[in-house]
Amino acid sequence: MTHWTILPIVVPALTAALIVLLARQDLVLQRFLSVLSALAVFVISVGLVVHATGNPPYSYELGNWPAPFGIVLVLDRLSAAMVLVTMLLVLAVLIYSFAGWDKRGRHFHALFQFQIMGINGAFLTGDLFNLFVFFEVLLIASYGLMLHGSGATRLKSGMQYVVVNLMGSSLFLVAMALLYGVTGTLNMADLALRVGQVESGNLALVQVGALLLLTVFAIKAALVPLHFWLPATYAAAAAPVAALFAIMTKVGGYSILRVYTLIFGEHAGDIAWIAQDWIMPAALVTLVVGMFGVMAGRSLRDLICFSVIGSMGTLMVAFALFNEAAVSAGLYYMVHSTFIAGALFLIAEMVINGRSDGQDTLAFGLPLHREALLSGLFFLAAIGMVGMPPLSGFVGKLLILDGATGTPYVAWIWVVILSTSLFNIIGFSRAGSILFWKSQAEAASQSGPSVPMESVSRKDNGHGPESGLGISSAAFLLGLIGLLTAFSGPVSQYFDTTAAQLLDGRPYIEAVLGSDALVESGFGSSPEADGMEDGLGEEGDMQ
């Protein structure tokens, strides 16, 4: 187990360098290296999940510097699962990009590998400053990918995306400076021990740091009111890039979950669960705003972007409860929404390319090329996104509703989630019926059935639905959704234990700093802290 933990970061980094240095001119070699690296990291991540399932968290000390002084990577159930989810999405998106997107500009594959490196690093790191660095790595790569195959629209929304994220990075640094100034450490496990012991005069500084950090993660997770960058960015980005970005909002969600359970969790003394009061209303409003966006969306991509915002809202509602059942449900829903958002972005582009005018406005048009297949895929993906049975979106929402029972927020959560689901269904069925059903009727009434399909001029950009690659990668993601549904029992069991591990926090700290530090600091053993645990940790079990 010694060096496996760092491989999901190192392998893409080296591959990216190789692609830039050796294979700059050779697209086939680039594709080969890219897939090889993705497959290798995928296999490694399966191994990491298997290891994390049976073992306590494992801490990897970079350069062998002992824990609070050097940087650590921590492999626990959550980070292993997140890396695996990332790699599954990456494989699908990579296959899709072979259908033509990677030809449209240089360095697609190199940027793609750097993006993987940043995402995996953000999931694995156990150091707050290192988290900042990996955020920057993934953002810098995403700036490049966002502008890939550029155009004026993409440049404008790219500029907004860059400015918003640079602002976020500045806030991240301020938050970190405050936390470091008071506690003298940036190691997450060490911070968890020291935040509870901060003297009351400095508490306000820690509080400001914690909430600034929350703002930064909320920008990444696109929580209202910090969601404005998302629709413009995702709608303007190329389909494979937008599909890959489906995991980026989850990086924000992951960071919130990690930092506010470990550092500002039940052992943080006066500022325990500081995030809850802020995330819960923001998440509920996010859900509502997302679903109104779905209702109001004028194009297919708008619709999907706002449904992504809505699903982030659902996710954060679950996380903000900070009890075991809800966090586990949120993690299950997170996996689901990553795959389904990826699939929807891919399908949307194939639908748009298949339309005679190549536009994604929701208006009547001529029949699509390969209409039956595409509409079938869209139908399945839409069912998954709105959370109707039988797919995993339904299971996830059910688990979240179940996790909310017995908490003070239960009425709000049930009302908002159930009513927004209805809006979501209406929005997607409106889009589907306009795109797939009314198209034929309209075409028949306007120009008669005599217009042959082939005479319709279709934008030939080399990656249309004609290529089986696009269809198969979308089908792959939907297949994963199918598996997630079929094996929802084992998967949610895995996440139950993950949530328990997260909310406890002690195994993580013990792995990083050793059990002596845990005992010395009296972490989690003071009667006050235990009282908090009873109050908050077991709410989910009360029913």
Partner: protein, 117 residues
Amino acid sequence: MEMLVSSGIGLIAACGVYLLLRGRTFPVILGLTLLSHAVNLVLFSMGRLNVGLPPIISKDATGYADPLPQALVLTAIVIAFGMTALAVVLALRGYLETGEDSINATRSETAEQRDPS
């Protein structure tokens, strides 16, 4: 000294935020630069403000300066510098392609949306 440094940082940050809220890319980039300056100073001063203290262990030292914030600031400077360069190039490309220096959606952009190339 604390008062002087903190009010200086505050002033720079305020100017940065003001410029960030402008509608054109050039002031926004300047604002980002100022803001990242302010942030670097915050990070730096979190190691406490000392004069003439050694950062590494020596026998005749009376106290130490914290070396970690300096390392953090170095990383932050590199990242902010690279990002500013990227933002400048982006703004320039945007200006050359649309003929405007505005951050928001423009007339030429909506035209482009109607007929993407």
